[in-house]
Symmetry: C2
Subunit: 746 residues, 2 copies
């Protein structure tokens, strides 16, 4: 049993294809399915009910029969649908794109027209997936890095039978509330793995997806049961190739030897400004060879279907390197007057040219029509997908019997359920605990979490020893040690962020963190924004969070960064002040799986403040000390992070002078905004307008907290190179300044 | 005369070196200088008075004598200082770095110790510069892209005789107010061309510097007078190589064939996290060959001085490609216990290891001591530099005689003086002018400015036809048409920004603009921040500035971007509403040569509003319409950009209902902040708390304008894919919403 189960995974795609091909030639009611009796419920987070055509009978097919069909499948290894039907299917994809863009009078028909052949071959012949459960864990992942060509992906999801893209959705392409937005969005369209459009992000996400597969396979696969086993495919265009982030991520993919990452480079020589000759004449093949990839060139991507198939076969045979398949295509293939020009890239063809294209490709159908034989041909993917998932579920059941502990871990990665009591692993501090930089306190938290969260992986952009991000119980994830969990991103912040988005979106239980100096969020802001937009709960560990880093000077000192992230939707900007607040920040960050968190952490030592608490952090803002009564302090002092200490000291001094002073920690503005009005009033009573804030960053936005009669002490200039204490003093971030301001506003 | 002047430039470095070598063996008082009688005053923006040792006698050296010395120079082509002195000089550089870092107890000794040989050869043997005028136009440019190694550059500037880095400055390394900050800053230290430290920026800046040289040489050089003729050198490390921005910029450098760009890659195999093997195993040579560079490998960069010299010679001989000289070095060379380890990268060696290094390299001197013979050897660079500049000035005088018009243009590029009345080239609009997207109005301005500003160059990151950035009277700057002025950056936003920083900092009269969608400022934010910090007056033309772009959806719709730049120091965030405001924004952007500007421009058509004005823009905020009296409106409506129209319409409606309504355009918060309190009160009287703002972006920060009793209409979520009008309506950015809010606050 063991060895046959092992061999099962290797051929299951082919198996399923052969069966389904057979099935698709029968009437729907007689179709054969391969689902074993019991389906574990956890094979995808959002398991979707099987299509109504799934009859109980199919679930009873005995294991013996499975094996026989499998044997037959291996024999039909190279069998594909009739050539004419393939061509028709490819033209269906082309016209779904052309027609949807035409109807919306907006969109990008050029890429789908050129990439329809590779798209068809991937979704119809190569990839394993279950259309009725887009979240099936062991599916192959597909990323359209050239996201503007999203109609390619929508057409494929539609043909494959995904419920998320029905005919109605194609008609509503790019309309308010539709599931077919202008670029692929994972949070709108099940079947879309990641959110692309901003160029280069998708291929970097794909590196993250492939990384997780390699990592989990190394951790969980057994000689007799390769329970984790899928490919990651991507299509990227010239634009993706030009973006620096793709070079960063692809350099890492080569370094890590991600052999199951197969990227198609749509080499069509056209970008928005015209021929790529005007700005892009580098030798991409040579660059990728330099990056450690296997490179294949398919010279005729328009009609050389067998060349595409052979390239994929070759790519799969190369197991120690990712593969770039450069596919030379014609953008807008089929359009007699616009093909191979920038005009077909990003605009509807126009009624006249749509007609001309129909004539040219011999397409007599109405807009958005899928011919019956094409529909029938693709219809097998629903039963095949169900069978693939069922087969995998059976395999998992076997796995669970033999490897209880591993199975439980893997299950939690698949479902995203956090272990009960995970947060108890985190430490607590008292004012007597020795002063410590929050970056060091962060490391304690990271190491505590690593022991309880099976999907916790992460690392730094070559600053591990400064960001304090090493999980000490693990080694480095490397080509030959992929089971380890410390990631070494090199000096590639942007690639790091995008790869972490891919990691987070691979499986709900994967919790990636990544780190650099806070100021260098500027390098990776495009990735961070996509974390926020695509609900990827990445944890950004950002140390050296102010002028407090000292001598490195203004190029390294963040000023506007806190404000810039407070203004960004769906992200938590946390700036803890000490041990308990750092713990609270991690509790929040881990709990928020659909909202990324940025932790701004100090380089310099900070005391543990009386009154600070991790529970307070969960409310975003709270009182750490107060000698007022009836919610009427003379003055409220507000601080965050390393300046909370200054506010607290100023509070003490003012109290000595007889003032009623409240000191508030405003560690996360977003969380505080979410509290009830009553709670907010209990912290910042409307009647108290005497408020002073202090934060080592831009004062932009603080007016909301301190009001027109308050004062904000901050930094509205660039920093300087000097020891930290001196800069604080020179720029006026001192206890004395807070006291003086408090007296002014009281 | 003509031909000899031409040949002059080709040999002048050698000439000068030979003379100076001779000179340095004499007593200072007898040194020979080659300055001709009259020095044009414009050879650098901030011309610095010649050193006191420049005696009148030197200015009188006859032209004939110049030629004789030149002939001698050619013969001593390969003559360099005695090997032992070279080694001593190199060790001087090493110990200046070691000692300064030790004194500061902060900094990066490793790189200077490893790169001292190439640094010495560049500054002592190869580069042409004038230490007493760091702004001499025709100097070779040097960029330390690996900016953390700044003590290398400070040591070299000190030895070469720059006034900016004297012994006192070395003693104050990384201290408050010093001219030797923790990373090289062009605005602090004359002789430093650009601001580096954030990795990868410097090499991209160097591409911009080399681009300007190639462009100006093509525009201004004559067969008999090559008035523009310099090299651009850079040193980059493993970190720079890993950053995507360097790949972007280097791909363009190869595409453009920047033959006079010579980059040294300090291949030391160590980055902060340890051996580069853990994250960086790509084949850099192959990648650069793919990018179209000439690649040379110097295997022993520690002591192979002649190999370094030969590599530079070879690089100069390759005229159609930039050259990467990979120099394998030992980080921390000379430190017996720390060399070749990450521990020497970013920390002081410690007293014990400093001693051990002194012993190891046979260095008996006190900290920060420059041995007399080394000092004497380097002292020739002051007279040589003066001679080089003088020679060039003479050449320019010849040029001016023959090519008046070109000389005047070149002069204005060198001095940065804008042509008188340049702003008159810009158009004016009336409310009757046809409605137009501000991106189109921007194009009109760009084209108008192109006719009057000789240093106006720019382009888009593959969105020229969307950003509307083509200067129609010019062709594309390309390898074989470098005299043209439209730049084609490809899809490389980050590289684009960094290259533009290099362009702006090459010469004061160079005014680069660059363009993409506003949301993609996220890709280039690190470059934009360095524009602001380093006082590079780049103009960022950012179109599609809101949800108004419609169907492309949330990945393409900026939300938090206006706020995020308003929080950034030393940058102007401008969001014009119509034709006159777009003109005003360009006036401001061109006039601000030490402060970059970002123009946020609409994709959609906008009417020209009654009351809008370019003069208003210069004040940042101003009243476009008002029916109140005595500065007491019932309500103030504030808008920016495309939403000013909504505010204006709401104002009209409210006035119909009898309200006294003021409508304010707040086009630039920074400029408005700079106005007098009286002016601010005249726009936003403190007594009027009924205020409503509308802007299609985050409301973050608006509390400052509308106060606690006002209302801000904005977007605090991500956008959506749909036609623009629908999104505006769904997200509540409507005339009706403004009216309703106004009634609430009145």
């Amino acid at each position: 049993m063991a060895s046959s189960t092992s061999s099962l995974t290797l051929s299951q795609v082919l198996l399923a294809r052969a069966i389904s091909h057979h099935a698709s030639t029968q009437s729907p009611d007689n179709r054969v399915s391969l689902s074993p009796r019991s389906l574990p419920a956890f094979s995808g987070l959002k398991s979707i009910a099987p299509r109504s055509t799934t009859s109980p009978r199919r679930r009873l097919l005995p294991t013996r029969q499975l094996r026989q069909v499998r044997a037959a499948a291996v024999e039909t290894l190279d069998a594909t649908a009739e050539a004419s039907l393939v061509e028709k299917s490819i033209n269906t994809i082309r016209f779904l794109a052309v027609d949807a863009v035409e109807k919306a009078n907006s969109g990008h028909p050029g890429l789908p027209m050129g990439c329809a052949p590779m798209g068809h071959i991937l979704y119809d012949e190569v990839m394993k997936y279950n259309p009725k459960n887009p979240y099936w864990f062991n599916r192959d992942r597909f990323v359209l890095s050239a996201g503007h060509g999203c109609m390619l992906q929508y057409a494929l999801l539609h043909l494959a039978g995904y419920d998320s893209v029905q005919e109605e959705d194609l008609k509503n392409f790019r309309q308010w509330g539709s599931r077919t937005p202008g670029h692929p969005e994972n949070f709108e369209t099940p079947g879309v793995e990641v959110t692309t459009g901003p160029l280069g992000q998708g291929i970097a996400n794909a590196v993250g997806l492939a990384l997780v597969e390699k990592h989990l396979a190394a951790r969980f696969n057994k000689p007799d049961n390769e329970i984790v086993d899928h490919y990651t495919y991507a299509i990227l265009g010239d634009g993706c190739q030009m973006e620096g982030v793709s070079n960063e991520a692809c350099s890492l993919a080569g370094h890590w030897g991600l052999g199951k990452l197969i990227a198609f480079y749509d080499d069509n020589h056209i970008s928005i400004d015209g021929d790529t000759d005007i700005a892009f004449t580098e030798n991409v093949d040579k660059r990728f060879e330099g990056l450690g990839w296997h490179v294949i060139w398919v010279k005729n991507g328009n009609t050389g279907f067998d060349d595409i198939r052979a390239a994929i076969k070759e790519a799969k045979a190369v197991k120690d390197k990712p593969t770039l398949i450069k596919v030379t295509t014609t953008i807008g293939y089929g359009s007699p007057n616009k093909a191979n020009s920038y005009s077909v890239h990003g605009s509807a063809l126009g009624a006249k040219e749509v007609d001309a294209t129909r004539k040219n490709l011999g397409w007599p159908y109405e807009p958005l029509h899928v011919p019956e034989d094409v529909k029938k041909h693709w219809s097998r993917h629903v039963p095949v997908g169900a069978a693939l998932e069922a087969e995998w579920n059976a395999k998992f059941a076997e796995y669970e019997k033999k490897y209880k502990e591993e199975a439980a871990q893997l299950k939690s990665l698949i479902t995203g359920a956090l272990p009960v009591g995970w947060e108890k692993a985190l430490p607590t501090y008292t004012p007597e605990s020795p002063a410590e930089a929050t970056r060091n306190l962060s490391q304690t938290c990271l190491n505590a979490l690593a022991t309880v969260l099976p999907g916790f992986v992460g690392g730094s952009a070559d600053l591990a020893s400064s960001n304090m991000t090493i999980m000490k119980m693990f080694g480095d994830f490397q080509k030959d040690t992929p089971e380890e969990r410390n990631l070494r991103f090199g000096v590639r912040e942007h690639g790091m962020g995008s790869i972490c988005n891919g990691i987070a979106l691979h499986s709900p239980g994967m919790i990636p963190y990544c780190a650099t100096f806070f100021v260098f969020t500027d390098y990776m802001r495009a990735a961070i924004r996509i974390s926020a937009l695509s609900e990827a709960g990445v944890i950004y560990v950002m140390t050296h969070d102010s002028i407090g880093l000292g001598e490195d000077g203004p190029t390294h000192q963040p000023i506007e960064h806190l404000a810039s992230f407070r203004a960004m939707p769906n992200i938590l900007m946390l700036r803890p002040a000490d041990g308990n607040e750092t713990v609270g920040a991690y509790k929040v960050a881990v709990a928020n799986r659909k909202r990324p968190s940025i932790l701004a952490l100090s380089r310099q030592k900070l005391p543990h403040l009386p009154g600070s608490s991790s529970e307070g952090v969960e409310k975003g803002g709270y009182i750490i000390s107060d000698n007022s009564s009836s919610n009427k302090p003379d003055v409220i002092l507000v601080g965050t992070g390393s300046e909370l200490e200054i506010a607290a000291k100023a509070g003490e001094e003012l109290r000595k002078e007889g003032k009623a002073v409240r000191v508030v920690s405003l560690v996360s503005w977003e969380l505080f905004d979410e509290q009830s009005n009553a709670y907010k009033e209990s912290v910042f009573p409307a009647a108290v307008s005497a408020r002073v804030s202090i934060e080592a960053g831009s004062t932009f936005g603080w007016e909301k907290i301190v009001g027109p009669k308050g004062k904000s002490i901050g930094i509205d200039r660039f920093g300087a190179s000097a020891p930290a204490g001196r800069i604080y003093k020179e720029l006026g971030l001192t206890v004395e300044a807070v006291i003086a301001s408090a007296k002014e506003v009281c």
